[in-house]
């Protein structure tokens, strides 16, 4: 009985897993871009840019993601901004992860030895050239693999988007449970699927980290 329940629900659950992965991948890419530019704003000498970046980071790290999702999906329509569930979810996840990633980027940029900037500037480069050509390529290589905690959190956080009716893995599980009344089995299957996705992703990141730092290791 239980076994047939699993095999019958699996296609729908795997289908919903695709939505989970899609949400995670799109949000990670957008979050990386947001995080990168926010980090640049944080280290810039422009006080306005710096201020905006700090306020953004503070808000998105200082409030629960669930509240952020509610504000975007249920709150914004009140001022005539209506966004459908999937884009709402992506916006919330990206803005949230972007705030965390920007701190990782900033730390990575600051961790590049100051001799690198001196060497670039000694050749006669502008600060911008030194940043683009010398500092950022090194800090991106340092940062991207070390952000694995944030990526993994982001994959897990996609489950929060189920509350605004996006049919991802958790939402699909609940729908199946509503029909079958088998919460233990179905939630365990969902948990197993999350585990496989996250573990697979972690292995991929480990491999990438080894590969990207191969000739930088001293």
């Amino acid at each position: 009985m239980t076994f047939s329940l699993i095999t019958e629900s699996l296609p729908a659950l795997l289908n919903a897993t695709l939505m989970t992965i899609l949400l995670a991948v799109i949000s990670v890419v957008i979050a990386l871009i947001i995080g990168f530019f926010t980090a640049l704003a944080r280290i810039s000498k422009n006080k306005l840019l710096k201020g905006i970046a700090s306020v953004y980071i503070s808000i998105f790290r200082g409030t629960p993601l669930l509240v952020q999702i509610f504000v975007i999906y249920y709150g914004l329509p009140q001022i005539n901004i209506e966004i459908s569930p999937i884009p709402s979810g992506i916006i919330a996840l990206s803005l949230n992860a972007g705030a965390y990633l920007s701190e990782s980027f900033r730390a990575a940029i600051l961790s590049v030895d100051k001799g690198q900037l001196e060497a670039a500037e000694s050749l006669g480069m502008t600060y911008g050239q030194a940043l683009r050509r010398i500092i950022l390529p090194q800090s991106i290589r340092i940062a991207i693999p070390t952000m694995s905690n944030t990526y993994i959190t982001l994959i897990k956080d996609t489950s929060l988007v189920s509350v605004i009716t996006v049919t991802e893995l958790l939402q699909m599980s609940s729908l199946i449970i509503a029909k079958t009344f088998e919460p233990l089995t179905i939630y365990l299957v969902a948990a197993a699927i999350y585990w496989v996705v996250i573990t697979g992703f972690t292995l991929l990141l480990d491999w990438l980290e080894k590969r990207s730092s191969r000739h930088i290791m001293q």
């Binding site: 001196e118 060497a119 000694s122 050749l123 006669g124 050509r133 000739h215 930088i216 001293q218």
Partner: protein, 251 residues
């Protein structure tokens, strides 16, 4: 003809007066070795020449480029500093090669980014320079795959890639294992023989004896004594110079 002219350079870090009004002129093709105990201000002096440290006061002139502390508007000043740096090769104690670029890419970087030289032309230039420092076979190695001596020679080639009119060396062999010092000094000697103007902060007395036209002894932010190698090493006049030379010999 003067290539470098320093007028009354002062530099303080908070209450610590590192340079107390240094005047120094270096002629074309002259090799000047700067010595002195640690904390004497010799590295700071070198870094003030290219504004890696901004002097609190004084005027630095390299070739046609004149940078005055606190003078002109900021934008113009920065542009002059960049021009000055493009004409001044700087070699660091810790090499500071770009770890994400191969040896040849390290040397190409300046010409490609700053002079907008084509990549093919820059590559040929870089390969020639690496051959000159004896590393023709290491072009495609990353810094982490090279010994300290090899890294420092790549760093010298990188500094030469901008065709500078003067080379500044900040303790270029201090971070090297003893057996690797010689290969770097040989490259520097060859450059000196070719007529390169050089200012070298170093404790290598052998190098100073072989190539220095002038030795400067610094202590506590001032030039205590200067002259030919023979004058400073064999007939020092100042007590502090005598003491320092004694310490170096006993080390």
């Amino acid at each position: 003809m003067k290539v470098i002219n320093l007028e009354n350079i002062t530099k303080s870090f908070a209450d610590n007066h590192v340079l107390k009004g240094i005047n120094l002129a270096v002629d074309k093709s002259e090799v000047v070795v700067v010595m002195g105990p640690s904390g004497s201000g010799k590295s700071t002096l070198l870094r003030c020449i290219t504004s890696l440290e901004a002097p609190n006061d004084g005027i630095v002139t390299v070739g046609d480029y004149k940078v005055e502390a606190g003078g002109e508007n900021e934008r113009e000043r920065k542009a002059t500093i960049r021009k000055l740096r493009q004409n001044t090769g700087f070699v660091f104690q810790q090499f500071n090669l770009f770890p994400h670029k191969t040896a040849v890419e390290n040397v190409m970087e300046g010409p490609v980014v700053i002079k907008k030289m084509s990549r093919e032309k820059a590559r040929r230039l870089a390969e020639n320079l690496l051959e000159k420092v004896g590393l023709a076979d290491k072009c495609h190695h990353y810094p982490a795959q090279l010994s300290g001596g090899q890294q420092q020679r790549v760093a010298i080639a990188r500094a030469l890639s901008m065709e500078p009119m003067v080379m500044l060396y900040d303790e270029p062999t201090s971070a090297l294992d003893p057996e690797l010092v010689r290969e770097v000094l040989l490259v520097m000697k060859d450059l000196a023989k070719e007529g390169m103007t050089m200012v070298v902060v170093t404790h290598e007395m052998g190098f100073a004896r072989d190539v220095a036209d002038r030795v400067i002894f610094m202590d506590r932010g001032v030039i205590v004594e200067q002259g030919t190698t023979d004058a400073v090493f064999n007939h020092p006049k100042e007590e502090r110079t005598k003491q320092f030379l004694q310490d170096v010999k006993n080390a």
